[in-house]
C-alpha cells in the first residue's frame, strides 16, 4: 500500500512545484518550486526502483544545477517587474486557448480513450529493473560505453565554453 499513497503525495507535490515555477513573480520562488518538483520526482524514481538515478537527480539537479540557478539570480538581481505588454499581438490569448484545448484533449483521451499506455504493466519483475549502481554500471560500460565517452567530451566542451564566455570582454578578441 505504500506506493499509491506516496505516489499521490509526490504527484501533488511535483505539480504544486511546477505551478509555482510558472506562476511566481519572483525568480527565487520559481527556483524553490523547481526544487520541490525535483525532490518529488526523485522520490517517484525510488518508488520505481531507480535508486541510482534518484541519487544522481538529487546530487546533480538539486545540488549543482539549482545552486547555479540561484547564483545567477543573485548575480543579475531579482527582477520581479516583468512587463506584460504584448510585443506579438494576441500571443498570451493564443497560448491560453492552446492550453485549454490541449487540456480538454488530454482529459477526453484519459476518460474515453481507454487504451493501454504501456503493454505488459502487470507482469513486473522487480529484479530485472532494480537500478542499483552495479546493474547500471554493467550496462553503461558494455552497451553504452561509446555514448559514455561522448558525454565526457561533451562535459569538457561545455566547461571550456562557459569559461570562454565568462572571460569575453568587448573590444578584446
Amino acid at each position: 500500500m505504500a506506493e499509491p499513497i506516496l505516489f499521490v503525495l509526490m504527484a501533488l507535490g511535483s505539480l504544486a512545484g511546477a505551478v509555482t515555477v510558472v506562476a511566481a513573480r519572483n525568480p527565487v520562488y520559481s527556483a524553490m518550486g523547481l526544487l520541490g518538483t525535483l525532490f518529488s520526482v526523485a522520490v517517484l524514481y525510488v518508488l520505481q526502483l531507480a535508486h541510482f538515478v534518484a541519487a544522481v537527480q538529487v546530487i546533480v539537479y538539486a545540488g549543482a544545477v539549482l545552486t547555479l540557478f540561484l547564483f545567477v539570480i543573485m548575480l543579475i538581481g531579482v527582477d520581479t517587474s516583468e512587463d506584460w505588454d504584448e510585443k506579438l499581438p494576441y500571443q498570451r490569448a493564443f497560448v491560453g486557448g492552446l492550453a485549454g484545448l490541449i487540456a480538454l484533449f488530454a482529459g477526453a483521451l484519459t476518460l474515453f480513450g481507454n487504451f493501454d499506455w504501456v503493454p505488459a504493466a502487470t507482469s513486473t519483475d522487480p529484479d530485472s529493473t532494480n537500478g542499483t549502481i552495479q546493474a547500471i554500471a554493467e550496462l553503461l560500460f558494455t552497451d553504452w560505453v561509446l555514448a559514455f565517452e561522448a558525454t565526457a567530451l561533451l562535459l569538457t566542451i561545455a566547461a571550456a565554453g562557459a569559461i570562454a564566455l565568462a572571460h569575453y570582454r568587448r573590444g578584446q578578441t
Partner: protein, 101 residues
C-alpha cells in the same frame, strides 16, 4: 500493490504541459530556463516508468545520459544569460531583438 505505468505517464504529461506553457508565457530568461528543466524531468519520468513496465534497465541508462546533457546545457545557457546581462542589463527576452532579421 503497485501503481500502473499509465498514472506515471499522466503525471509526466501534466508536468510537461505546465513546463511548455510556462516557456510560452514567461518573458524572464531564467524562468524560461527553469521551465525547460521541468520538461526534461517529465520526459525522464516517462522513461523510468516505461522501463519498469517493460522490465528493461536501459530506460534508466537513458535518463542518466539526459541528466548529463541537461547539466551541460544549463552551464552554457546560464553563461550566455550572464553574458547578455552584462551587455544589456536585462533578462527579458523581448528586449533582445538585436538578431532580428
Amino acid at each position: 500493490m503497485i501503481v500502473a505505468a499509465g498514472w506515471y505517464m499522466a503525471l509526466a504529461a501534466a508536468l510537461f504541459l505546465i513546463g511548455a506553457f510556462g516557456l510560452l508565457l514567461r518573458r524572464n530568461a531564467l524562468v524560461m530556463f527553469m521551465c525547460i528543466e521541468l520538461m526534461l524531468n517529465a520526459v525522464n519520468l516517462t522513461l523510468i516508468s516505461a522501463g519498469r513496465a517493460l522490465n528493461d534497465l536501459n530506460g534508466q541508462v537513458a535518463v542518466f545520459f539526459i541528466l548529463v546533457v541537461a547539466a551541460a546545457e544549463v552551464v552554457v545557457g546560464l553563461a550566455i544569460i550572464v553574458a547578455i546581462f552584462r551587455r544589456r542589463a536585462t533578462a527579458s527576452v523581448d528586449d533582445l531583438s538585436e538578431l532580428r532579421g
